[in-house]
Symmetry: D2
Subunit: 344 residues, 4 copies
């Protein structure tokens, strides 16, 4: 089978490897599609550990099922979440499933950018979902990234009627717009720098889409004017730039919450003033990844049409062109989600 | 009547003023006791606005009641919360009462360091509590500071069974220890630098009271060992030093919450790494002051004996010695709460 | 001014009374529209106390403002909630505002079926809302009933993704359908007996609208089949018939909640089996009326178009024809909300 | 090994069976103690299915561990929860673990009234807890029943400061008293009919322990007087008698919650008036059993001494006298928890 091996963004090589033979507690999936995530393009994060086999937004058809697995069967159209929690450790019991040690250690092998991959019985039991007929393989690749958004909305405690500021309208930001609507948000302001993405945001239902100006105080005042309040109840930062975080920190309502949905490089920092946090009772929080509850809901939202999977995926590539897909993702030039498709 | 007028910590002068005559929508209280708060000692905060009349932990006996007020009567032993929310603004409707504009604008006049003070009908209606017989005037002065602690515990979402790290065991820290017990916390570690306060913390029921070492990583490891986890589920910082905040940020569990309960000067800042916040799903939050729900609960806890008011108040002074009370509070030398008492 | 005086459903008389003169802590409203509620038609409830002046879904223009009132002004287009909580009693502090003693005692005078009415400063401060320009007087009459629905959805703890069964699609049921959508419900089954209302329910966005069959077990099985679960996570009973309550009790999921939104006569009862409740961890709950948080949200939903006020109001009447409006409401014949309009 | 086989309360026979050999995904425990539950004495529930091997409050020492199990080892002192949830079904994902189909199907074999028992890898992974050194085997038998109480307190949403009425002070009621204290309840009234249990309740820290009178209205008034409110915020019914349920329904505050913690026979019913529920916004709810989160907390409370395990267990018996233990439990004569101990 063909497997894409990542060396750096420009250098991804196709290797030929034997199709893996699942053990009794494993199952084998014939890959149909796998999305390219921003994390698949962060060279500072990847190249030190390269060569790597990537792809964690994987969808396919079950090809073989080990004898210990009973809840899926050959022929099932499935999305397999690569990370799964143990469900019983201290973090899992507190509901912080993505903090579970097992969560980060679990994987699909060798990854979604491969013609086949295997996963474990625990994957089958805990976070392998059957795609309904009206959800295409391509659309299914959005289950994982969409689940991350759902996770963030839930942790931020978004309530119907909240006012929200959203920074960034890439793939994630656009899906945020639709999810926020689903969660009952009607007071929404979106910030974005690229003109064509501003148009996209409008198309996805955002009424107020603004390019950030240079004067942070002026931005706050515009938000206050719009919401007739001291700021946005919830601020979601869906861009990994420190500038986005600074902007977001500035727009939050007294008593409100800022969600760091994206992460800059580990060495990048921001300065915060505890006195400001204190007198305004501001909350800063963050979410990493998504759990098995979020994926189910993500699939529901794709199936119901509340999130427009087809409009989020702008480009598809064969596995041989994964490097192009990565470079396209990095460029942010008139592209949203790039997906690798398999015609096997 | 005697009124203490604050110029700076060393210079507090007693003036003689006429006893105020309450209007139809006001009431007059003969002051019996008023606590000294750390905020009454922060010269950088006070001297620019001096001369000032201070005192917001005030308790007394109702002396006269305006004709529009019906829920209190002459002779009632009362604690009057100086700040009261409007209850209907956007912040109040979201439950963020201390963010209400009216909250910060409301006051008692001229303040608790005066032989008499007046307050409004709204004070009477919303946050004037009758002291039960078993609560002394002196003990009643703790209602406001204790309410702040209750507010913080509620906002941090402390649940029975949580593990908690607490930094600082001044008046506030010691009351935190007892409140945390009330809220079902049995896994508690307390940090304090002063030896005699370490002893106090033990006396108040804390089993693990540690002096912070120089190596932040070593402290985290000790906490991890104690709780058999990745850190403390909730961290309360009840000391206004930046060092305390840095220490606290370091001790929190993955998925946990750091509460900035105290504030340093406005210009003091700390550096945070969004990437660290992100991968560990850390929440930073804060509370300022207390609302009318918190004061009622505070009074309950004093009355029930769950919080030891008598042991928290270490010194009492006549109004003429307010400056001594302030300096004693600043010194942190073998003192906890200092209270001004009136023998009128 | 003309005032409608209720003797019974057939007998409503128009009296001429002087326009009331507001005191310093009152304001006067020129009525523009007032909705007819099912409660305005329940003879067993009303006739023992008749003659009565009714109307609690009232909207108008501020005509005169007492000198103690500062937050509204002459000419404001307002909806005035007739019941307002004290905000500080035990029930209010627990958030159960509609259980507040003051709530039920407060009123507008003489009522909304009158050319003018007065209300108090507390009404002005706590629950008098300015209608945005895009909300007509007629649409504004829905604020109160819609607020009751929002109250029930919040108390039932509806979460995005829940499955819901709704019994009854009168005015309330139809607005429930749209609110449930706003709250993120996509798994919805609706029960209704009248054919034309079944069509309405479809028009309002419900996909599954069923006529209840005679066999309760069969109904449960259909719901289980639809939701692929043991029942509906939340059941809302928006019909005052005991049969509707029995049906609803039968459809709930294990661990789910049944909301009695409507009330039969006081003497009507149902039999429950604690053992059944116990082994299935069922919750039964109820809501009465709506609070000042709910009305604000209701107005937002009307203004945003999430709830179709214009389609909910099927008939309008002049005040002289109030009895017709009541009889039309009782008949349930091809009518939804009936509203009295004033051309003054 | 000796195994107790239940025919009816008077007839329990000791059989000799071979010690089971655990499979690769099982483990074997040498039983040290097992509590007798009220459910082990309900003949109407048990005799139709007899002969039966009972005992679900079992504690022992791990004797042998199948090769697939890695988180426990020979010699571990363990409490094994007999019921374990699948953790991924719809109910589990909603947090209703005890509604999980697997939960009720899982068991230990043949049961805790046997010298040895086996359990599965899933038991080991999900709900087998190591007893700390300071918790005796006997005390460990209370983990399961105490967990049920914790489950009920959590589901009822008890908050620090709530007022509570508790009906019944058997084993469960007494542990409720201590747990409610742990959860911050200081306003507590307890109802009990047996004099010696009334004394016990006082000993366990309840200040107000009353015998129910004949006039329900008088009881409500006493509760209202005590709490200075319209009733108890939460009512826990820890007695399986219909009379206890009727009493409890009568004592609840407006906006409050009644918890049916115990179940009468399936055919026993009570009559409820939706109109009463409606105008008072009453919630009725229930909990069945306990989950893996509750058991961990239960063990913590026993280890911390917050619950007095030693005082709850009044009698111990050898396995040969299980029938006596059952009859003693049924009699309620000067006994609390009866535990079977093994000297193997
Ligand atoms: N929390 C999680 O579990 C999770 C999961 C998946 C992804 N993520 C993160 O989510 C982020 C967004 O993903 P994506 O695929 O949507 O990325 P993306 O395509 O890079 O989109 C980010 C957008 O934000 C814009 N932006 C940057 N700084 C801005 C500012 N100061 N004001 C306004 N707009 C600004 C960018 O514009 P320019 O191109 O002009 O800079 C870009 O259009 C990524 O950083 C990713 O790491 C998080
Ligand atoms: N959020 C609110 O609503 C609210 C309300 C009232 C008060 N507060 C704040 O709460 C804070 C505490 O009040 P308080 O009256 O208890 O003050 P305090 O007497 O100053 O107590 C603070 C204690 O913390 C110790 N400390 C400082 N840095 C530390 C560190 N790095 N590690 C361990 N211990 C450290 C101090 O020891 P050293 O003396 O050796 O430094 C001192 O004993 C004040 O700053 C006040 O502003 C907040
Ligand atoms: N909780 C609150 O605060 C609050 C506020 C306002 C109103 N309410 C209550 O809400 C209820 C609904 O108000 P509405 O104006 O919508 O009343 P409505 O017009 O009477 O609508 C009720 C509908 O339910 C149908 N129905 C009755 N029993 C049924 C059953 N077993 N199965 C299916 N459908 C059934 C009725 O059909 P048929 O005509 O064929 O019987 C009718 O179409 C009223 O009872 C009112 O008291 C409550
Ligand atoms: N939800 C769960 O998961 C769970 C788990 C375990 C147990 N339970 C249930 O919890 C219940 C209590 O267990 P237990 O071991 O404590 O039982 P218990 O020993 O039977 O205790 C119940 C006590 O309640 C008293 N009582 C009965 N009716 C009363 C009334 N109307 N007013 C006041 N007191 C009344 C009884 O007194 P008399 O003897 O005079 O009647 C008895 O002392 C059992 O029914 C059991 O089924 C539930
Ligand atoms: Zn885990
Ligand atoms: Zn306010
Ligand atoms: Zn009230
Ligand atoms: Zn399950």
């Amino acid at each position: 089978m063909k497997v894409a091996v990542y060396y750096n963004n420009q250098d991804v090589r196709i290797e030929n490897r034997p199709i893996p033979q699942p053990k009794s507690d494993e199952f084998l999936v014939k890959t149909k599609a796998c999305g390219v995530c921003v994390a698949d393009t962060m060279e500072w994060y990847l190249t030190p550990r390269a060569p790597l086999t990537l792809g964690h937004e994987a969808v396919g058809v079950v090809e073989e099922v080990g004898s210990d697995i009973h809840n899926i069967k050959v022929g099932d159209r499935v999305v397999v979440h690569h990370h799964i929690p143990c469900l019983v450790c201290e973090h899992c019991r507190r509901g912080n499933f993505t903090m579970c040690e097992s969560f980060r250690k679990t994987h699909i092998h060798p990854g979604g950018f491969s013609e086949y991959f295997t996963a474990s019985a625990a994957h089958a039991e805990r976070d392998t979902l059957i795609l309904p007929e009206n959800v295409s393989f391509k659309a299914g690749t959005l289950v994982e990234p969409l689940a991350c958004i759902i996770h963030a909305i839930q942790k931020a405690g978004v309530k119907a009627g909240d006012s929200v500021a959203l920074i960034g309208t890439g793939t994630m930001g656009l899906m945020f717009i639709q999810c926020l609507k689903y969660w009952g948000v009607r007071k929404l302001v979106v910030y974005e720098m690229l003109d064509w993405r501003i148009n996209k945001a409008h198309e996805f239902g955002a009424q107020n889409v603004w390019k950030p100006g240079n004067d942070p105080q002026a931005e706050l005042e515009k938000v206050q004017e719009l919401f007739q309040s001291d700021g946005a109840d919830k601020v979601f930062i869906a861009a990994k730039d420190i500038s986005a975080m600074k902007l977001g920190m500035n727009l939050v309502n007294k008593g409100g919450t800022v969600m760091f949905f994206a992460t800059p490089k580990p060495e990048e920092s921001i300065e915060i003033f505890p006195s400001h946090i204190f007198f305004n009772e501001i909350t800063i929080t963050s979410t990493y990844s998504a759990n098995h509850l979020d994926t189910r809901m993500a699939l529901d939202l794709i199936a119901s049409g509340d999130v427009w999977a087809d409009k989020i995926i702008s480009h598809t590539y064969p596995i041989e062109e994964l490097s192009d897909a990565i470079l396209q993702t990095v460029s942010r030039q008139e592209s949203l989600k790039c997906v690798v498709e398999f015609n096997n």
